[in-house]
Symmetry: C2
Subunit: 264 residues, 2 copies
């Protein structure tokens, strides 16, 4: 998907919501467990229920991978089921030497036709650039993450490491193929990050369960094209563990969508 298509979809819908498909088999409603592929049945219902409120879906690859080859089948069916209008993110946090990152790119951009993948920056240029060689595919590079452990290394150095990641990686990609992960739990950092990367999109986890709010994030992080995808995973997909799980997921997605409309 091109940047123009993504921006157009955000404007048309007045939404920049990404629904995280962290579809943990152990948390899927009991009545789906007799289905041939409970994970896919769950995702299908969630996608049907939320697609009018979001512009992107982000399967968290760990939850599929942990089921072995069956999980990869569920992932494939899920990607095929997501409407073409929606931006897809493989939340995989991959990154390795060049020939290996090239294989990961093949996995997520060819074997599975994702629009983008999250990548860890630790190994530098040759771990990231193979993902940037595909037309209209995106790297979403970890910059400042939402978790507690973000304090361990991401602030290392007089010029914090996450700033260096944002500065350096702009030599490798541009706002048409490179986004950054910036956690909603660091609203105070958004203004500084916008100085460093004014045009780029950010993927923002940490709204809801982890404590960030849509309005605070937008106050510091919004740009002319909106410039953000705010993700919610568990806060939407596990809104109920009963037979009404999809209805409740829709309500949770709509609640965030309503907050987002105020930003247009």
């Amino acid at each position: 998907m091109t940047r123009e298509q993504l921006v157009q979809q955000i404007r048309d819908k007045e939404s920049f919501l990404c629904v995280g498909l962290d579809s943990d088999l152990s948390r899927i409603p009991q009545h789906l467990m007799s289905a041939q592929d409970p994970v896919f049945e769950f995702n299908k219902a969630i996608i049907d229920a939320t697609k009018d409120h979001c512009v992107a879906y982000k399967p968290n690859i760990a939850f599929y991978e942990s089921l072995g080859s069956k999980g990869w089948d569920s992932l494939g069916k899920t990607i095929d089921y997501i409407p073409d209008t929606h931006f897809t993110i493989a939340d995989a946090k991959r990154g390795d030497i060049g020939n290996t990152s090239r294989q990961y790119a093949k996995t997520f951009f060819e074997t599975f036709a994702f629009d983008s993948i999250t990548v860890a920056p630790y190994m530098g240029i040759d771990s990231v650039s193979p993902f940037l060689e595909y037309d209209n595919k995106w790297v979403i590079l970890l910059a400042l993450t939402s978790n507690k452990g973000s304090e361990d290394f991401q602030h290392h150095g007089a010029e914090p490491l996450f700033e260096q990641v944002i500065i350096k990686s702009q030599e490798w990609g541009d706002p048409s193929n490179l986004m950054y992960v910036v956690g909603a739990t660091h609203p105070e950092s958004f203004a500084r990050i916008r100085e460093l990367a004014p045009e780029h999109f950010y993927l923002v986890p940490g709204v809801g369960a982890q404590g960030g709010s849509v309005s605070t994030v937008c106050k510091y992080g919004k740009n002319e094209d909106l410039g953000m995808l705010i993700n919610s995973s568990r806060g939407i997909i596990f809104s109920s563990t009963g037979e009404d799980f999809a209805v409740e997921a829709k309500k949770s997605a709509k609640r965030l969508h309503d907050q987002m409309r105020e930003q247009f």
Copy 2:
């Protein structure tokens, strides 16, 4: 596998060789391509040919993952085929927030019974610690990698980031469950790293094709328990593209084993 078992195996064999199973389908000898599972047939022959010369096997997960669910089946069969005497490394470079790293740990330590996994440190403590909660399982944390991109961020800061990773992570694990990736292409850094982590094992890529040598790495990196696993992937498994691929792989493994014997 415990540290004692690993050290005993290294002493018994006078080898600290790890064979990297970067079993790229596009490079597998033509005559195997008609097999039902060419990747597994290839790995089986490589394991049979090299097991007397090495103490560890390291499947590079990218090459399996890129084949979708079939690749994960090949990986499962490969892990089952590796003798219990050998230490197994999932070269996966994973790392994510706590609940997600927990799923990755489940994948590689339960769904597939690897002894260890390579982990990227960027996201800090909660991305690493779920892997350390398993008895006799290991984290192999990226510290100073062998690739060109290692220059981009790993030296960031007055106290280089890779040193900070080694120092900080010793609060999370110890020499019985934590190793570090240290590339053979940085022999000058081994002495400093040994000061910081005298007892830990290092997984050392970059010998052979990438330019590092066994004797130089040992000169600066060896400790009382030997303390290193030196990996070779393409330099062993793709020694020949013909029907003699396993015979040639054995010769390449033996060549490194002979160099290693001199260290005992």
